[in-house]
């Protein structure tokens, strides 16, 4: 860790005073001077006010300026009455929301860095000339110009603030002087050095945060910054250590989001292939990995793209970082993600240049409108198919009447009913999404600043959400509960139709009563084949899950003709989604959590990680264009012992070779082991791996469990 980072960490411990977020008031100051202007222009002035009027906070120990502390601190005297009045005005102009394509975006930083603000403003001018007879486009372009100029001013202000900080602390800080020099240059001119480039990107990111955007990605940092890095190193004006300190100070400020009470997810993609193909890993990829490790905060959501020629050394470095307990980088398989995107008609170069937004969502960097997604609760449709379309929790008729289970004589009859329920559910899902997504007129709700970071908006004179971007908007339908789904169908198949131990009607009664009085039946269901054990009887229904959801959603389009991707990645959401689902045929109680993301049901994978891999790789994930998440846990020694780490590495490479899409690994912490002692039912899969010995952690005596706990601390 660089000395600068340790100093910055110290300085940032001072949490800003909890006061009101003044963003709305700042926007009001913009609107209020332009009530007579078209709404697009008024919006641009609101952005201008946000950028120019927020207080530019500088950390004395920082190397790269740009802080969101200005959201709370302000030199203006704003009374409660002031903000109430401002609120009325700002609310009237209205806000874009997540479902209207506003955040979860990977900006085109490449253009910003190669052309600079000067270049972008030049392009805006050119376009204005080109469209001088088109009022609508001219208005939009004027809005982009206002916002870009405001951004330029903001950069200059950060430079001035850095100088002022020196005066404030009565110290000539070379790092602050450097910041002021850099800002004075890049507020207009394109950056020439690594430091300048990084500063420009970070201020653009900061500007997005002032606009109120969430989950804005930094994209392929190791690619767009590399030319600057390489040149500086060659010219001898930058050392590796200096570069590390710069990246650390930048990324550590992602942690500022905690001041607002929630961690932001800022995705950074490293590694992978280049747009023209060939391995893209470079020194910066390693450096970013190192910086993220040293920052040790949850915000930078690091994704490492892996392809068949990724050097083992890089993957090994990734595992070392995972082993520190951070839980990332998440590992992404280019060999699946690129074809998964390619089938939607993007050029192959654009597919290879993908990055991720939010947690894992695949994104064509800087060439499509921001992301939206939702939750499609698949196990709910099993419940409806079992109950003639009626909700088991409320009795409401939620789906079509597909018949009482007593009328189903084969598994296929049941599956047909299920498919009808799922199709109806998807129609309803799309209705809700479309209504939300289309709620407001895209011209009135223009996004002039964001549009400057998406290819072709300026050239076309159109907003990012109004046909400006090269590619249309896409949407991700987060398909919940693949494990619950596969296990439930496998249990029905096994217990009802194969072994004929009970009738489907009895099963329905059991589900309706949440297994009260049906405990024996529940046990049979719990002991039926389960997904995650390389058991074809269960795994085939996971395959069905992927093909069926893909088939159902490929019928639909977004408002501008983009695809509806499926996702099997809805982390944590499995808990709230489970609350809406009655008991399921896998033996799960009503309202209990569903299986998480693409992982098998918690505790049901009893054959170890290779069997999980064998099961999970059966579906074709090139159909899942948004992405999947497979969560796995390993004991810390798997990361610290180089020999064991090599085994883990081989495991992951095999997983990817077999067509796995993504894997997120966690080192099992002491907390988890403690929890397992108290709640063994949740940890049936936790295996203790010792030479010549096999046992599940939960089957061990308390005293022995404590032994292992002790070991974990020392490893």
């Amino acid at each position: 860790m660089s000395n600068q980072l340790s100093c910055l960490k110290e300085e940032m411990k001072l949490i800003p005073e909890k006061s009101k977020d003044i963003r709305e008031y700042l926007m009001y100051l913009g609107y209020v001077r332009h009530f007579d202007e078209p709404v697009t222009i008024a919006r641009a002035y609101a952005i201008e006010s946000l950028f120019e009027n927020h207080k530019k906070y500088i950390y004395a120990n920082d190397l790269v300026a740009g802080s969101i502390r200005g959201k709370w601190s302000c030199d203006l005297m704003i009374t409660e009455a002031d903000s109430q009045h401002a609120e009325r005005v700002v609310r009237s102009y209205g806000f874009n929301t997540f479902l209207m394509n506003t955040d979860h975006f990977a900006p085109d930083y490449e253009t910003l860095l190669t052309e600079g603000i000067e270049g972008i403003l030049g392009k805006i001018r050119q376009s204005m000339e080109k469209y001088q007879n088109n009022e609508e486009k001219k208005t939009f372009l004027k809005a982009t110009e206002i916002s870009m100029r405001a951004f330029s001013t903001m950069i200059g202000q950060y430079g001035d603030a850095a100088l002022k900080k020196c005066a404030e602390i009565h110290e000539q800080k070379p790092n602050l002087l450097k910041i002021s020099e850099i800002c004075a240059k890049i507020k207009y001119k394109k950056p020439d050095t690594f430091h300048e480039a990084l500063q420009l990107v970070w201020l653009a990111h900061t500007a997005f945060l002032y606009e109120g955007r969430l989950a804005m990605a930094l994209g392929r940092m190791d690619q767009y910054l590399y030319p600057f890095y390489k040149r500086d190193i060659q010219d001898g004006i930058l050392t590796k250590e200096q570069a590390l300190a710069l990246v650390e100070c930048t990324l550590y400020k992602i942690g500022e989001s905690a001041y607002s009470g929630r961690d932001d997810v800022v995705n950074i993609a490293i590694g992978g292939v280049k747009p023209e193909n060939g391995d893209a890993v470079n020194e910066l990829s390693y450096l970013i990995l190192e910086a993220v490790k040293n920052c040790k905060i949850p915000g930078p959501n690091l994704s490492a793209r892996i392809h068949c020629e990724t050097p083992d050394e890089f993957l090994d470095e990734c595992l070392k970082v995972v082993g520190t307990g951070l839980g990332y980088p998440a590992l992404m398989n280019d060999e699946v993600n690129i074809p998964a995107l390619y089938r939607h008609g993007y050029t192959i170069e654009d597919c290879r240049n993908y990055s991720m937004v939010g947690c894992i969502e695949n994104f064509i960097t800087g060439k499509q409108p921001p992301w939206t997604d939702g939750r499609y609760n698949v196990p709910k449709y099993i419940e409806l198919a079992m109950n003639n379309g009626r909700c088991m929790l409320t009795g409401v008729q939620l789906g079509p009447e597909t018949g009482e289970p007593s009328t189903f004589t084969t598994m296929d009859d049941f599956l047909n009913a299920l498919k009808i329920q799922m199709e109806f559910g998807a129609a309803e899902y799309m209705m809700f999404f479309r209504n939300e997504n289309d709620r407001y007129n895209k011209i009135a709700y223009a996004q002039p600043f964001l549009s400057c970071f998406c290819r072709d908006c300026i050239e076309r004179g159109l907003d990012i959400n109004n046909g400006g971007s090269i590619y249309p908007s896409v949407h991700g339908a987060g398909c919940m509960g693949i494990g619950t789904f596969a296990d439930s169908l496998a249990a029905v198949d096994d217990v009802v139709f194969n072994k004929k131990l009970i009738s489907l009607q009895t099963l329905k009664e059991a589900l309706l009563s949440d297994f009260k009085g049906y405990e024996e039946l529940q046990s049979l269901l719990l002991n039926a084949p389960k997904y995650g054990n390389n058991n074809p009887a269960a795994d085939k229904y996971a395959v069905l899950f992927v093909t069926l959801t893909n088939e159902i959603f490929s019928k639909y389009r977004t408002r501008d003709g983009g695809a509806i991707y499926t996702a099997i990645a809805t982390n944590v959401q499995n808990i709230p989604a489970g609350k809406q689902v009655g008991a399921t045929p896998d033996g799960r109680h009503a309202c209990a959590p569903l299986s998480d993301a693409a992982s098998p049901m918690h505790g049901m994978d009893k054959n170890g990680p290779t069997s999980v891999v064998n099961s999970v790789t059966k579906p074709d994930y090139t159909m899942v264009s948004c992405g999947t998440v497979l969560n796995q846990k390993y004991s810390p020694s798997m990361f610290t012992d180089p020999e064991k780490r090599a085994k883990l590495l081989a495991m992951i490479k095999t997983y990817f070779k077999k067509g796995g899409q993504e894997i997120q690994i966690n080192a099992v912490s002491r907390d988890i082991l403690y929890d397992a002692m108290g709640n063994p039912e949740n940890y049936k899969d936790l295996v203790v791996r010792v030479s010549g010995f096999s046992a599940y952690y939960t089957s061990l005596d308390k005293a022995v469990q404590l032994d292992i706990l002790e070991r974990t601390e020392h490893e």
Binding site: E519, E520, Q522, S523, L524, L526, N527, N534, G587, N607, G608, P609, T610, S611, V613, N614, M638, K644, A646, K647, A650, M651, K653, T654, K657, K658, P680, E681, K684, V688, R689, V690, S691, G692, F693, S694, A695, T698, S699, L700, D701, K702, A703, V704, D707, I708, H714
Partner: protein, 299 residues
Amino acid sequence: MKGIVSGMQHFSVGDGPGIRTTVFMQGCNLRCEWCHNPETISFKPVFLYYKNLCRNCGLCQKRCPQGAHLMMGRTHHFNRERCNLCGECIRYCPAGALKISGKETALSEVMEYILEDMEFYSSSNGGVTISGGEPLCQADFTAAIAKECKKHNIHVIVDTAGNVDFSSFEKVLSYTDCFFFDVKGTSERDYLSKTGGSLKLSLENMMRLISGGCNVVARIPVIPSYNDSENDCNIMAGLLNQVGVKQVHLLPFHRLGAGKYAALGKSYPYEQCVPPSKQQMQKLADIFAAHGFESRVDG
């Protein structure tokens, strides 16, 4: 062909190089006091009841035709003598508290399990470890598994205490890439009293393997106040030098098997025994290194 198998485990990472599948054979001719796999000792299947997992739901009582499970009030009691190992109750237990170790298993079933992980063996230079129990007590079956593995080019380790007639080794050695050979004492008397077997026999077998050109690793379980002193290690190093073995793995004693003793209704004599520390293990490994062995701490 059939054998009796206690269990099989994918992704074994402590049983040799790479990612391995370990086949635990049922039945052993030794009685090591500290054994951590007590369920594999008997040549007949044994029933395990994990009281710590039991939710006292009483479902097993309803299903058992022998009346082996008894609910007394709200607590479950298991009457081992009555159980005839039919397995019916296991299917109904919601908690996974019931198990049988030792199942007559066809060669094809073992192979099917092993072959599931082919891709992992090749990507990690792993393979199969046949352990137990004492795999050489079922030498024909072990040989059959090893032979099948070789057909698929899978690396095979046989993990044995080697207290068997050399003819058992002869059955497996042409299909075995490496023997993990347990050495469990420094003198004939100690060995007999702690394991019921013969040190001499095991060392002779080891020597014959090595002189026959087999790849052998000596694996030494380090048991506190039995063979964990520097002196013990010096003696063992001397013995192993004579035998001609080059590699030594030290395996620290652990108590992880305690729960299985309870599940078998047995008491565990090493309940209170404290496992050796990492530092101590490393010190002992260094002694072997000083004697010229390639030594390491495993486990």
